[in-house]
């Protein structure tokens, strides 16, 4: 069961925009036949153009699985993912993913600069490519580190490099899977504002998985709370905070505190529900 109720009445954000990503009763199991373990159990929601949607949910609930299905990297067991009106069967060109497992999504035989450059080869001319790479590295705080190899960098630096690759690609839709998990508090704040800025500048649609509820509420136009595995959407919470957001002011608003508490409670509920369901079965 899905709730769209939120602590108070709110307006739907971007109601005028078309949906870029639509999930219709998405289902995914790992394994085959009798060994199949259902993970996604009928997920329905849509993301409109320019919208910033955060996905939160207990660890192991299926957030990464969901993102991979949307990205066309995993084939759903049932249901459909629609991207810009077309059913997703392979990764859409206008979409980029920043992976949770950053240390393995960077290629160890290339410097950071070349890792970032790699997907740009087909998209942009050389001069523009160079500019973009510089800009992206600079914006994640890796200016002057482009010559390092991934294995010469700290965990947080690797993660930022993976983010730079996603940003430089300038996709219409950016999927990010816990992108800031390994960076320090200040860098995290900087990167949050960076993503908001980029969204504002290029009208990028962002689907963002995070564990940090403050972060989710701060960034999102809408927070989607997943239930425990098998997963469906347990809550779909519009965030009615004024834009543009501000790290100090926004977080000081009473509404921020309310939403934050509400999301936290919903995750708790989702989690204990999942435990209860499992006990019942």
């Amino acid at each position: 069961m899905e709730h769209t109720t939120s602590p108070a009445t709110i307006a739907t954000p971007h109601p005028e925009q078309e949906a870029v990503v639509e999930l219709h009763d998405l289902r995914k199991s790992y394994g085959k036949g009798s060994a199949a373990v259902p993970i996604l159990d009928g997920v329905n929601f849509e993301v409109r153009r320019g919208e910033f949607v955060c996905v939160v949910g207990p660890s192991g609930s299926g957030k990464t699985t969901l993102l991979k299905c949307i990205a066309g990297l995993l084939r759903p067991t049932a249901g459909r993912t629609v991207f810009e009106g077309e059913e997703v069967t392979e990764p859409p060109a206008k979409l980029a993913v920043v992976f949770q497992d950053y240390s393995r999504s960077l290629l160890p035989w290339m410097t950071i600069r070349r890792n970032v450059a790699l997907p740009l080869k087909n998209k942009f001319a050389k001069a523009e490519r160079e500019a973009r790479i510089e800009e992206a590295l600079e914006s994640v705080g890796l200016a002057g580190k482009g010559h390092l190899y991934p294995w010469q960098m700290s965990g947080g630096m690797q993660q930022r490099a993976a983010i730079a690759r996603g940003l430089a690609y300038q996709p219409d839709v950016l999927l990010m899977d816990e992108p800031f998990a390994a960076v320090d508090a200040q860098t995290r704040i900087d990167l949050e504002d960076l993503v908001l800025e980029i969204r504002a500048k290029y009208n990028t649609t962002v689907l963002f998985v995070t564990h940090d509820i403050d972060e989710a509420v701060y960034l999102a136009d809408r927070v989607i709370v997943l239930s425990g595995a098998p997963t469906s959407v347990s809550h779909n919470i519009p965030v009615d905070l004024p834009s543009p957001r501000h790290q100090v002011d926004t977080k000081r608003e009473p509404r921020f505190g309310e939403l934050r508490a509400f999301v936290f409670e919903q995750i708790q509920a989702a989690k204990s529900n999942a435990v209860r369901n499992r006990a019942d079965a």
Partner: protein, 252 residues
């Protein structure tokens, strides 16, 4: 720096010499190390010897080149396409264990004691290790990296050249070194039996003449050839595989 290697070679040679001199090794079929080493200058003085070395080396490397040209696309096709993999499976597995030695008469019939015959048999014999290795390597490519490539919609050639081939390299390097020594081996054996020009034929002639020191000096030469090719490959590998855990020892 490589003093250990040099030392171990010296130990083996001295052991051989001592065993021969003490009668432990029968001089009639294995002359003492010093005799064999002494035969070398005589051999090396003859241009024919160097021509033979050239022939053996050229066909081994040539055959290896053919192997790479065939195996790289074949391995990619086999590794990436289930259709190709399953279709060719039986044929490949059937052909692999067929000894190049058994193919020599056929090779001679089709091409005579020629370079073409040698190259064909070398390619046939040295193909499989490299191919096997490449296919195993393809199965080892990190799936997170592959997902990354797919999600950024890297063109097939970019995915191949930037993601698949580099992660294949460690496997390919090993495979190429295995294939290289097999190439030398098949090259020498076809010369020995099939009579194409090269060190193998020289070995056969020396053997017929009962010139044991020369024969063993030639055999040592073939071993040295393999050794040299291997060192060359190892040297070429290092800058290519600098990122690989086996090469970045001083990363700490």
């Amino acid at each position: 720096m490589r003093w250990r290697g040099i030392a171990s070679v010296a130990v083996v040679l001295l052991g051989w010499e001592a065993a021969s001199r003490s009668g432990l090794l029968p001089a009639a079929s294995l002359p003492p190390a010093s005799d064999v080493l002494m035969a070398w200058p005589t051999l090396a003085a003859a241009p024919a010897f160097w021509a033979s070395v050239g022939h053996t080396l050229a066909s081994a490397l040539g055959g290896l080149g053919i192997v790479v040209l065939i195996a790289v696309p074949a391995a990619l096709a086999i590794g990436l396409s289930r259709f190709v993999r399953e279709s060719t499976w039986l044929v490949v597995e059937f052909l692999k264990p067929i000894p190049p030695v058994a193919m020599i008469p056929l090779g001679l019939l089709l091409w005579g004691p020629s370079e073409t015959m040698k190259l064909t048999l070398i390619a046939f014999g040295a193909l499989w290790p490299f191919l096997t290795q490449m296919v195993y390597g393809i199965n080892q490519v990190d799936h997170v990296a592959l997902d990354m490539a797919r999600s950024y919609r890297l063109k097939a050639w970019l995915t191949t050249s930037r993601v698949v081939i580099p992660s294949l390299l460690p496997f390919a390097a090993t495979g190429l070194r295995v294939s290289a020594s097999i190439a030398v081996v098949v090259s020498v054996v076809t010369e020995l039996i099939g009579g194409a020009a090269g060190l193998g034929r020289d070995i056969m002639v020396a053997q017929s003449a009962g010139n044991l020191p020369a024969m063993y000096a030639l055999i040592l030469t073939t071993g040295m050839l393999g050794l040299l090719i291997n060192f060359a490959f190892a040297a070429a590998e290092r800058p290519l595989l600098f990122w690989h855990p086996s090469q970045r020892k001083e990363s700490d």
